[in-house]
């Protein structure tokens, strides 16, 4: 079986800086895949390429066997590809509930309707509330995002994306900036996702990575250094070298 999301021979440069170099990556349905690598390795860029925020210089992206390299960002979302942001991208002046309702409403195609009143979309609001509960945010439902502590905002970041019911979920350092007491909430929410949903997580905390991932890719200087099971990666000398900050002559 081929993957639900496939990246083939992807290249991207910012001027002289080659940020993505011949990257191949396949996520099967139900994957729990971690993408690790030092800061500046090009992990976020890879997500931007997959989701269509950036256009690759070369290479292709397939979503359910379909070439989506030239599809718009919103088109890919409609086809089940969703991501969270490393740095929160929220609707800061709106309430938590509205933040999540916006994405649910978008998914259900309600955001085109400009005559009936938003609050009457009980289907949307009910679903948004369920999501808030799942992330322990129900007491913040009516709080404006700006007034929430950063850790809670981080949960909203994830709730918005879950509101899209993705088939492929790309999480860019979801736990960064979250107090360690709240990290399990995020992981539990991800664990609760269906077995058919493919999840890619970028994460620096190795405990989180090893708890979560069934497979791991290591990205260094824009290229995939190695791939394997968590055990294989843990024993890989090159990976250890990178994580110990030693120079790498590979």
């Amino acid at each position: 079986m081929t993957g639900i999301l496939e990246v083939r021979g992807l290249y991207k440069s910012f001027g002289a800086l080659a940020v993505t170099q011949n990257v191949h990556l396949t996520l099967e349905a139900g994957a729990r895949h971690a993408l690790i690598g030092p800061n500046g390795a090009g992990k976020t860029t890879l997500i931007n390429l997959m989701t269509g925020v950036l256009k690759p210089d070369q290479g292709n992206i397939f979503l359910e066997q379909r070439d989506v390299t030239n599809m718009s960002e919103s088109g890919r979302v409609k086809n089940g590809l969703a991501r969270t942001f490393q740095i929160n991208q929220l609707f800061r002046k709106l309430t938590t509930l509205e933040n999540v309702a916006l994405s649910v409403s978008e998914r259900l195609g309600k955001n085109h309707v400009f005559w009936s009143q938003a609050w009457r979309n009980s289907e949307v609001l009910d679903e948004a509330m369920v999501l808030l509960k799942r992330l322990g945010l129900q007491s913040d439902a009516l709080t404006v995002i700006e007034e929430l502590p950063y850790g809670r905002q981080r949960l909203v970041e994830i709730a918005i994306t879950l509101g899209l019911s993705p088939k492929v979920l790309l999480l860019d350092e979801p736990a960064a900036g979250v107090p360690s007491t709240e990290t399990p909430i995020i992981l539990d929410a991800v664990d609760a996702l269906g077995d058919d949903i493919a999840v890619l997580i970028i994460e620096h905390d190795m405990d989180v990575v090893f708890r979560f991932a069934k497979s791991i890719s290591v990205l260094v200087s824009g290229a995939i250094l190695t791939e394997g099971t968590p055990e294989e990666i843990a024993e890989n000398e090159q990976v250890r070298a990178v994580y110990l900050g030693e120079s790498l002559d590979a």
Binding site: T51, V53, S72, E73, S74, R76, V77, K78, A82, R83, F85, Q89, L90, F91, R92, K93, L94, L97, E98, A101, L102, S103, S105, E106, R107, K110, N111, H112, V113, F114, W115, S116, Q117, A118, W119, N121, S122, V124, L125, M129, Q138, S139, D140, A141, L142, I160, T161, G163, L164
Partner: protein
């Protein structure tokens, strides 16, 4: 009034209450009717205020909700004014309501066509392009003198009595009501739109365009849609202007008109609809008073008010009022 505490378990009540009609929303209409009977200002001035409100409301849809800054909105006001005027002057289409709708429809179609291109850009590029659009439209009207009357203006506009009964009398008694009813319908439409899911998605685009894209929102299409609606409403304002004055000059397309409407809206407060009412009322009254007293300096005074608004009342006069009310409530509590 007591502050209601909302239950997070039932947030729908909160969202519903926020969009529900508040008693204070009757105020502008009471004032408008009172102006007719008491006439503290001339009805002619009243009509000007109403037209400005419609124009400012149209701008609020794209600026206050969609977050699109434009310096060329007079293009659509002017399109409505010229189309309605020319239909009458050249084709004898003198029936007012259909004439108004025709002008607005052409303005809306023009908004759709131009918006499709303009809204591919943002920031400074968009600002310059809207500015260019305004200038080009004014120049176009100038060179197509045969139809527009060019620099001399378009005369020969004859508007039939509304429903065959209500004429455009010199005191603007009938046209005051005509404009008021138009304002009311435009406002109702705006209010419905901004409280719809579509309207909320515009706020999403204003607040964070990148995230809206990431949740699958067709941002360009959404903006073009609201831009078209906005242009249609600006066209209504322009058409009314042409009918009231039975005369259209290049002034309807001037950069000054685009700039002024932006000032009016920012002064009143963006993204709250009623900012258009407050801004238009204050601006036109101040302009009228100051221009009478100090014809040479009044714009200086206006500039001063603007500087104050920009520095201290970012949310406009209405925003300042809201903050003040909130402050008083907190004092009481």
């Amino acid at each position: 009034m007591t502050t209601k505490v909302y239950d997070a378990e039932n947030p729908v009540v909160f969202l519903r209450d926020r969009t529900r009609w508040h008693w204070a929303e009757a105020l502008p209409w009471i004032v408008a009717v009172a102006i007719f009977f008491l006439q503290p200002i001339t009805l002619n001035l009243g009509v000007q205020i109403l037209i400005t409100i419609i124009f400012a409301l149209s701008l609020d849809l794209i600026l206050g909700y969609g977050g699109v800054v434009t310096l060329g909105h007079a293009a659509y006001f002017g399109a409505g004014a010229y189309v309605t005027g020319m239909l009458s002057a050249h084709l004898g289409w003198n029936e007012p309501i259909s004439g108004l709708l025709a002008g607005a429809t052409v303005a809306g179609a023009f908004g759709f066509a131009t918006g499709w291109i303009l809204l591919r850009y943002h920031g400074l590029a968009l600002l310059m392009l809207t500015l260019a659009l305004g200038i080009m439209m004014a120049e176009l009207a100038n060179v197509t003198e045969v139809w527009t009357g060019g620099f001399d203006g378009l005369s020969g506009i004859v508007i039939d009595p509304i429903f065959g009964i209500f004429e455009n009398d010199l005191w603007r008694r009938n046209y005051y009501w005509y404009s008021l009813i138009a304002t009311f319908f435009v406002f109702l439409a705006c209010r419905r739109i901004v409280n719809s899911a579509f309207g909320r998605s515009l706020v999403g685009i204003r607040e964070n365009t990148e995230r809206m894209r990431a949740i699958g929102s067709p941002v360009h299409l959404r903006l073009v849609t609201i831009y078209t609606i906005s242009a249609f409403m600006a066209g209504i304002a322009g058409a009314l202007f042409a009918q009231v004055n039975a005369y259209v000059t290049l002034d309807v397309l001037s950069f000054a008109r685009s700039g002024t409407i932006l000032i009016v809206l920012v002064l009143g407060g963006t993204g709250r609809l009623y900012g258009a009412f407050v801004g238009a009322l204050v601006y036109i009254l101040v302009e009228d008073e100051l221009a009478k007293e100090y014809p040479a300096y009044w714009e200086l005074g206006l500039g001063f008010v603007l500087v104050l608004t920009a520095l201290f009342f970012r949310q406009g006069l209405l925003g300042a009022l809201e903050s003040f009310v909130r402050f008083c409530k907190r004092l009481k509590a």
